[in-house]
């Protein structure tokens, strides 16, 4: 028997004080299997031990909330007896080590979370971060991640309908892969991940258990160093066909009513599913690993309990109805195998051929995992990086040169190279094509639609994590509102560095405080999410990057808007103030190589008023297009309204704020560019006035050029065709492959 010494603890990622806690909870020394189970369940990835005290401060309730945090996914009421079930999850660490499989299994994992709730998944979005495409490493990771996201989603037949991609060297060694899945369920059809009723059988369904992914959760809870490539065996391999069978079979079997509880085996595999189902249901569970279908011979209970093989589910079935359940799985050529049963009490008992090999109070693995109030302090450099003096940057580049550079900057450029590899039309629900501000899907059987957006700006959060996080919430909600969706729920993915460093913990704490402040002000409950820490390589952390996913409800899916201009001679109106704020902008990064200055100010009351206004204007059809201003500011937003419009140009004059480039490229929040026929301008202005939102007619659509002036002085004059070509092909030119059509 292995002696548990400091080396064994270190290999399991457990600290000496954590081991003390295990001894207390167990009342004895754990054996190696028990230690392994604690190791994965108490990993940052599974236990949220560093973030939990902060996450508790988020608003999670509201009249529409059907399911808040704590289950496999959150759910909000969308009317007609239906709910939207959604969650975002990261697969950052595996995607660096093995981009294709890391991304693919990330997609597979979040899809399982959704159908586990009894919901049919209908849409996927992703938020991705990579290093500069000028490096071979970033290109390789980008290529692999996009292929992996597509490979899994396309096969299983769930459309990838939107997302965002940002390129910055701060993500060179730690790419981010955050995937959001949305499903639809009847409210009364929601199934939870809790065990119930002693004597009820516990079934294992899906792929066989192999040795892949052992300690995946522990790997995802540590920094990278130069030996990280050696962790490749900890990355799982995905099989979307198996998941498709599992999804159809699970959705079918849940309709029988014979399934009392269901949970997917993701991070921490069987250890997690058995202990969480038991502790949620306030009961115990006993299983024998002998019954677990195995892909390899000679697997030990330790390997079986810690494997993270994909596409596996655990079900608690009503006793006496086993045959019904087995028949459904047989139809799909899957085997449902009874591996154990629910027992009274609160203990998780693992047997091997009848011999007890582990016995743990299941709450010790879950609710009683350590909770850390880790020390936080503001980094010493924080105030310095917030300084910005335009004068010290040297002479300002001509506006035209800045425009030409920005329109083809990979972060701003069209992401079609990526989304053309994603099946976005399967399911026949996709209303807004990818590349619009928000994705819009209809809900079949109703008139309704759902708008979705994922957003996060790591630069803003680096400069001011509280404000940066508020801006992320505001932007995601604003994008959804621009499509006519009333924001009704949110999910967050917190991507940060090593929480054991007080500066990183401060960023995390401030960001969560910002998310909470913005969500309360905008009326958006957070119904779940994911935390990914230790995104560091050789001591260098990523930008603090909270990513927000917001779901918006359209009562009538046909009343929506996109960013593109629809006709010549329409008035172009700016809703919101242009404050000329360049802090943290793409302009500063692209033209001066600087990430500095204060991020844009955000008045949450103004933001809320703006969002209500745009939802009303879109629903009434008063505006024909609506586009949020973000990276690249007003100039880029106006250009984007001409792209994909069939070549409709724009002429606009902007009032000078600061200097010309600040006016054109500043990234002030709470701004939306709309277009409307001349005869409705007065209606737009009146609605804005009564909403308390500043509004100004800044130009007109038409012609085949993008002509922007500042206080009447020439600034940008580009042909739509040339600018659109530069924007549309920027990424494929970097990837140097043959251009798609």
């Amino acid at each position: 028997m292995t002696v548990i010494d400091s080396q064994v603890l270190e290999r399991h990622g457990l600290k000496p004080d954590e081991y003390e806690r295990i001894l207390q909870l167990m009342g004895r020394e754990p054996n190696l299997l028990e230690l392994g189970m604690f190791s994965v369940m108490w990993s940052e990835h599974c236990s949220y031990k560093s973030s939990r005290v902060h996450l508790k401060t988020l608003p999670t309730t509201g009249p529409r909330v059907v399911q808040g945090p704590g289950e496999n996914a959150g759910a909000v009421d969308i009317g007609d007896g239906l709910c939207a079930v959604f969650k975002i999850e990261s697969h950052n660490h595996p995607s660096f080590i093995e981009p294709y499989q890391g991304a693919a299994t990330g997609v597979g994992g979040i899809i399982r979370d959704i159908f586990t709730m009894g919901a049919r998944p209908i849409a996927l979005l992703n938020a991705l971060r990579f290093g500069s495409l000028d490096t071979a490493l970033a290109r390789r990771i980008f290529e692999g991640v996009v292929a992996g996201v597509g490979g899994y989603g396309n096969s299983i037949g769930i459309p990838t309908v939107g997302g965002e991609i940002v390129f910055d060297e701060m993500y060179a060694g730690n790419p981010l892969v955050n995937v959001l899945c949305l499903g639809i369920s009847r409210i009364d059809g929601i199934v939870k991940g809790a065990a119930r009723g002693a004597g009820n059988p516990v079934f294992y369904v899906g792929a066989r258990t192999g040795r892949d992914g052992i300690h995946g959760a522990t790997m995802a809870s540590a920094e990278f160093d130069d030996k990280s490539a050696e962790k490749r065996p900890a990355v799982q391999v995905g099989d979307p066909f198996m998941e498709k069978l599992l999804m159809e079979a699970c959705l079918e079997v849940m309709k029988t009513g014979a399934v009392l509880g269901i949970q997917d085996m993701g991070a921490a595999g069987l250890s997690c599913a058995t202990s969480e189902m038991g502790s949620r249901g306030g009961c115990g569970m006993t299983i024998d690993v002998m019954h677990v279908p195995q892909r390899e011979t000679g697997m030990t209970p330790y390997e079986i309990m810690l494997s993270e093989s994909q596409e596996r589910m655990l079900l608690v079935v009503q006793k006496g109805r086993e045959r019904e359940v087995e028949q459904v799985f047989e139809k799909w050529d899957l085997h449902a195998v009874q591996v154990g049963e629910v027992i009274d009490g609160s203990r998780l008992k693992i047997h091997e051929r009848g011999v007890l090999v582990a016995e743990v109070p299941n709450r010790a693995l879950t609710d009683e995992a350590p909770v850390y109030r880790r020390p936080m302090h503001e980094p010493s450099w924080q105030k310095d990086v917030r300084q910005l003096s335009l004068a010290e940057l040297g002479p300002a580049p001509p506006a035209q040169a800045a425009f030409d550079r920005l329109v083809a900057a990979p972060t701003i450029a069209s992401k079609r190279w990526a989304y053309r590899q994603y099946d976005h039309s399967v399911g026949t629900n996709t209303i807004a094509q990818p590349g619009m501000s928000a994705a819009v899907v209809r809900v079949k059987g109703t008139t309704r639609g759902l708008a979705l957006s994922v957003d996060g700006n790591g630069r803003f959060c680096y400069l001011d994590p509280h404000r940066g996080a508020m801006l992320a919430v505001a932007e995601a909600a604003r994008n959804v509102a621009c499509a006519g969706g009333e924001p009704i729920g949110g999910t967050n993915n917190l991507n940060f560095g090593n929480p054991e460093r007080p500066e990183i913990m401060w960023q995390l704490g401030e960001a969560v405080r910002g998310i909470g402040d913005a969500c309360r002000a905008l009326g958006i409950p957070i119904t779940g999410g994911n935390v990914s820490l230790y995104n560091e390589t050789e001591g260098r952390a990523i930008f603090p990057t909270p990513v927000l996913g917001v779901v918006g409800l359209l009562d009538d899916a046909s009343k929506t808007a996109t960013r593109t201009f629809k006709r010549d001679a329409a008035a172009v109106v700016l809703l919101g103030d242009n404050l000329g704020e360049l802090g943290g902008s793409e302009y500063l990064a692209a033209m001066h190589g600087k990430v500095c200055g204060p991020p844009p100010a955000l008045d949450l009351k103004r933001e809320a008023a703006l969002q209500k206004l745009i939802v009303a204007l879109v629903r009434e059809g008063t505006v024909e297009s609506a586009h949020d201003c973000s990276e690249g500011g007003l100039a880029i937003a106006l250009a984007e309204c001409t792209f994909d419009s069939g070549g409709i140009g724009v002429t606009a004059d902007l009032a000078l704020v600061g200097d010309a480039n600040a006016t054109l490229f500043g990234e002030s929040a709470s701004r939306i560019v709309v277009s409307t026929p001349e005869d409705r301008v007065a209606a737009v202005m009146a609605a804005a006035k009564s909403a308390g939102v500043p509004a100004a007619v800044i130009g007109k659509t038409g012609g085949d050029r993008i002509r922007l002036t500042v206080n009447g002085g020439a600034a940008v004059n580009s042909s739509v065709t040339d600018a659109e070509q530069a924007w549309a092909t920027a990424i494929e030119r970097k990837m140097s492959g043959r251009a798609p059509l």
Binding site: I156, G157, P240, F241, S425
Partner: protein, 236 residues
Amino acid sequence: MKFSVVVFPGSNSDYDAFYAASRVVGEDAALVWHKDTDLQGADVVILPGGFAHGDYLRTGAIARFSPIMGAVKAFADRGGPVLGICNGFQVLLEAGLLPGAMVRNDRVKFVSQLVPVRVEQTDTPFTAACASKQVLRLPIAHGEGNYYAPPEVLAEIEARRQVVFRYSSPSGEVSDAYNPNGSLNSIAGICNRERNVVGLMPHPERASEAQLGSADGRLVLASAVKWAAEGMLRHA
């Protein structure tokens, strides 16, 4: 009339085809499990898109062994209209109901976008409602849609007017610049000699409502209705 849509375990456009036939075109429709042998009184059979059996070997390679395929073949032999969409087209090729084969897209990557597709022949059950040379905007979404046939087979297909759809420009010109996957002769869809079995890579069922970006695909299913109304269904 009744559309029967075959459901292979990895079909993912089965419900889309069912929905388009029943809710958009307004006809009866049924989903038929691949392990069944009865087409449930079909007037038209659709083999839908997806990844029939995971397709880790070759797309559609295993589906031809599904029990339902015997019934589909018998239905086709009687002259019944069969439409294979995307993976369904691949299954028809593997089952020998249509000539040729599919290989990996020439640009290697999966490609998903709306493309113009020119209707070459209007004397099939799935193009009877189209005008000759009409250009339809239809989505494609595939990794293996690069149509291949040996030179003599290709020459015969062309001579017998079996090319039903070709990728084209929005105004209907056919050229390599508008060929999204490297298919020989820009072939997007073909029929058998008897013209009752049609396969195409684009997805008409996904483009049957304006709300989804194009309603052009409705014509493909509506053609079958027109075909039937004109008494052209020979199998009955």
